[in-house]
Symmetry: C2
Subunit: 437 residues, 2 copies
């Protein structure tokens, strides 16, 4: 049985980054991947969705080009071509990861892993000659197997009418109407794409408000923007049954649509873990400490699987932490950070980081000269202050929020006082200036 310093199971943004970092720093590293390098993020999540969002937003901007004194005769999106382009982009980025892994010295094997007791990983490799199973062992194992599209009891995707997000991303035509079950981040981003491409979108959610953890004013601006784009929201709505491509809500209303997306969050699959010590007392999800160690010494769980924060950037960060702690001398991250930024890529975007407190400064985007020159004046920035007037958190609802949030990340992490921020000169007329208006 071949032995490694480190085996990483799962080549998503957490796993491949950890593996490359480890191998570059001299650890003998094996990376096991079931399907595609880059995981859900690259192949059926962040990157494909942002590619579609970017095209949808650009098309909409072109249709409003007269605001910028530009007359456009006709603008048409080749949706099938866009779907092909997103696939090509995924392939190109996969290749980039493959090159990174190779140049870092990672050994990569494609197959289905099982985690056996005694830090043993068995990998089933299917080829034209049938299935072979190999076993590997390591001093340290990182579980980075991510998640899959979530399900709801009694609502089963059929691949034809009721699709999950991965299935919808592969369809090359825009339906006339789309029902979305679940108005979380995934549902909202898909609603944004399809409504701006002329599809009639209805979002259904059991909660009576969108994104309950997010700043209420920011969410309202985003929701109104989606409504202007043609989205209908059916909140506080329970689904009684689904029949004949029609969703019956318990209030008596019905939603009929050409297609239906089930956007019920993400599901963590730990079925491959055959080491019972690891999942003991854990409701099926590996419990980890602040260094992402599980209850079994030498086994770590990073990314979606530990259910701390289901973001690609959380997975990457956690993977680097684990590897840094295996190295004799390493700078960079080494343990859990509560300062976790997040972005919803609707138009306008909502980007946020840190804690929301009762004491905040709110700056409307319309005050920005730069926003005025671009005709993008919707939204605001809120800086939330801790009791000592340091910047505890930030929410930005605006065009460009995913770039601007970087400054808030730095301010929150450095616990900068609001009065000290005011002493930092920001260029005029820039987007960045919004922090000191």
């Amino acid at each position: 049985m071949k032995k490694y310093d480190l085996i990483v199971i799962g080549a998503g943004p957490g796993g491949y980054a950890a593996a490359a970092h480890a191998a570059l720093n001299g650890l003998k590293t094996l990376l096991v991947e079931k399907q595609h390098l880059g995981g859900a993020c690259l192949n059926s999540g962040c990157i494909p969705v942002k590619t579609l969002l970017n095209a949808a937003h650009f098309l909409q901007k072109i249709r409003k080009a007269s605001l910028f004194n530009i007359k456009v005769e006709r603008a048409e999106l080749d949706f099938a071509g866009l779907i092909d382009r997103k696939d090509r982009l995924a392939k190109r980025l996969q290749k980039g990861i493959a090159n990174l892994l190779q140049s870092s010295g990672v050994e990569t094997v494609f197959g289905t892993a099982e985690l056996l007791p005694g830090k043993t990983v068995s990998v089933a490799l299917d080829s034209e000659h049938g299935r072979t199973v190999r076993q590997y062992t390591a001093d340290n194992i990182i579980l980075a197997t991510g998640s899959v599209p979530g399900t709801l009891p009694g609502i089963a995707t059929d691949g034809a009418w009721l699709l999950n997000s991965s299935q919808l991303l592969d369809r090359k035509t825009i339906p006339a109407s789309l029902a979305i079950i679940g108005a979380g981040v995934i549902g909202l981003e898909f609603a944004d794409i399809y409504s701006r491409l002329g599809c009639q979108v209805t979002l259904i959610d059991i909660l009576d408000r969108l994104l309950p953890g997010e700043d209420r004013e920011a969410v309202e601006i985003m929701q109104k923007s989606l409504q202007r784009a043609g989205c209908t929201f059916r909140l506080a709505s329970k689904i009684a049954k689904i029949e004949n491509r029609t969703i019956f809500l318990s209030g008596g209303q019905t939603v009929a649509a050409e297609l239906c997306l089930l956007a019920a969050g993400r599901k963590i699959d730990t079925g491959y873990i055959q080491d019972s010590a690891l999942l003991k007392n854990s409701k099926g999800i590996p419990q980890v400490n602040e260094f992402f160690q599980t209850s079994v010494p030498g086994i770590y769980a990073i990314g979606d699987i530990n259910n701390i924060a289901l973001y690609a950037h959380a997975a990457t960060y956690q993977g680097l932490c684990v590897v840094n702690n295996l190295l004799p001398e390493a700078g960079g991250p080494n343990k859990h950070s509560a300062v976790m930024p997040r972005v919803i890529f609707t138009a306008p975007q909502i980007a946020s980081v840190g804690q929301y407190t009762a004491d905040y400064k709110k700056i409307p985007v319309a005050l920005l000269g730069r926003a005025q020159t671009e005709g993008q004046t919707e939204g605001f920035l809120k800086l939330f202050l801790a009791e000592n007037n340091s910047i505890a958190g930030c929410v930005i609802v605006s065009e460009n929020a995913d770039a601007l949030i970087g400054e808030a990340v730095a301010l929150v992490n450095t616990r900068t006082k609001y009065s000290d921020l005011q002493k930092m000169i920001h260029p005029h007329p820039s987007w960045a200036e919004i922090f000191i208006l």
Copy 2:
């Protein structure tokens, strides 16, 4: 003679911000303006130029829409309409400043000021009934009179063929060809606008490289982008004479063009200062200390006139410093800061802050997943490190640099170590992520 706590001469971004801040905090404040609220920045500089740049870049992006699978039949810019729009925007922003001044309690007077000895300001007001002159005095006076387009010996603008930037901004047609004398920031931004609108642009400069103080690699990327847009550079070129709308270079070459822009920096006019104590030993420019006090107690000079940093944001910051030091208790800025960011709004932009050192990390934009989804992969970010590995400076050449530079501003001001930056989680797939790749 009416007496104030504070008189501010000049209602540009330094003067109006200082006046509003002072009046809001209880100082009896008079603001004197010769022409328009907002100064050169709002009326003939930053804001109008960015409005034109935004439209030019958007038009170019539309023409490349097929990259995003969008087919556009015909896109045409109504340039005269754009010029009108920039004027309307300026008027709207002027009105915003007027409202701010009024609600803050600033008394504003439109007229031509002279600074007399004894902290006395005389203002000539022209009306249909002729000229009246009023005199005012104050304990404190802020000179914030900015600058005007620069000139070169022997090269005089004529308002017809040889124009300064303010004059060119008012022309409602795009010339077939444009010669630009001076390839500094102003010349480059105009070259960017006109070349992308189909005009044949030739830039002439006596220096043998562009922007000598700026990062050489960043400048090269921007220069190549302008060359691709059709700009021709005649560097290391001295002008021998100008005759018949033709520029004769001392090397024997000639540049003929339909129009010529003189972009020879900015000129500081101190002709209105009749208090000789103030300009003593100063080569015509008021010398100030780190609190922007001139040699005459109670008289301050902020913005372009003190020649420290000719940026709108420098003026605003300095104005707030002066007022804060007049108030019994004030947070925020109070003295000179060497951490001065700047942005050149060409495509790609160059944004920079802090010091350039020999030790730097360079991150290509192409590594960013987000940039890949937008098809904007040109450029890089460089983080310059001080000896203790704190972040001393940053240059970004990229789309979106004016938003991204905000994080660098925070990192440089907080002297954050590079290893601590790596511990700050950045959202994926965002533009902000470039700081930790």
